[in-house]
Symmetry: C2
């Protein structure tokens, strides 16, 4: 492989890491980034917009995440002076931190393996 078959200019190692629940995916890189944008913007619609994702898609993801745990990750509010909003709960912030750290370690793993396979 090294030195011939696969050049780093044309090939790269990639991967995904996620938490799987009994029926649905619970947490992955997309859901994690969505949580991050919600934490920043305080809004599902703004978070969706920032990710180039439809509001419905983002709402479905939030709904799926909240439905799979006893303690919701995000708290939503409809109506009010700014139309409503969404914030992360302490549980949501914890997931963002803990799973985010796992994603960072995963990226480091991929970097190491890239070195081995293509470096």
């Amino acid at each position: 492989m090294k030195e011939l078959l696969l050049t780093p200019e044309s090939f790269h190692l990639d991967g995904r890491l996620w938490l799987q629940g009994p029926t649905d995916r619970f947490m992955g890189i997309g859901r994690l980034e969505l949580l991050g944008h919600i934490a920043e913007t305080g809004s599902i619609s703004k978070a969706a917009q920032a990710m180039g994702m439809s509001y419905k898609k983002a709402w479905d993801l939030v709904s799926s995440m909240n439905a799979q745990v006893n303690t919701p990750l995000v708290s939503t509010q409809t109506g009010g002076s700014h139309g409503g909003g969404t914030v992360l709960t302490p549980a949501g912030r914890q997931v963002l931190e803990v799973f985010g750290a796992a994603q960072v370690r995963f990226q480091e793993f991929i970097r190491q393996e890239t070195e081995r396979l293509l470096g």
Copy 2:
């Protein structure tokens, strides 16, 4: 997260690792297992059957892999006493070994992270 939100009975960490080419995926766990079955059986059709995969699907994967490198991973032969067959080239055996080892290390990474997140 630990001790409450996510129980190991209901949630588990999962992941995928693959080599991406300029346009198509070059190698992943499915393609790797297909190479392994081809090495064992000497036949695309038997390998496909062993994986519960259609022959066409398996052939498409083989075609994709071979098309992305200068040195083919598998060598096919049509006709002959047993109808034909398919064997791994030295390059194919090398990919099977090297990328297979990466997959093993990836599974170990997932095991470690599972311990951290859910253990």
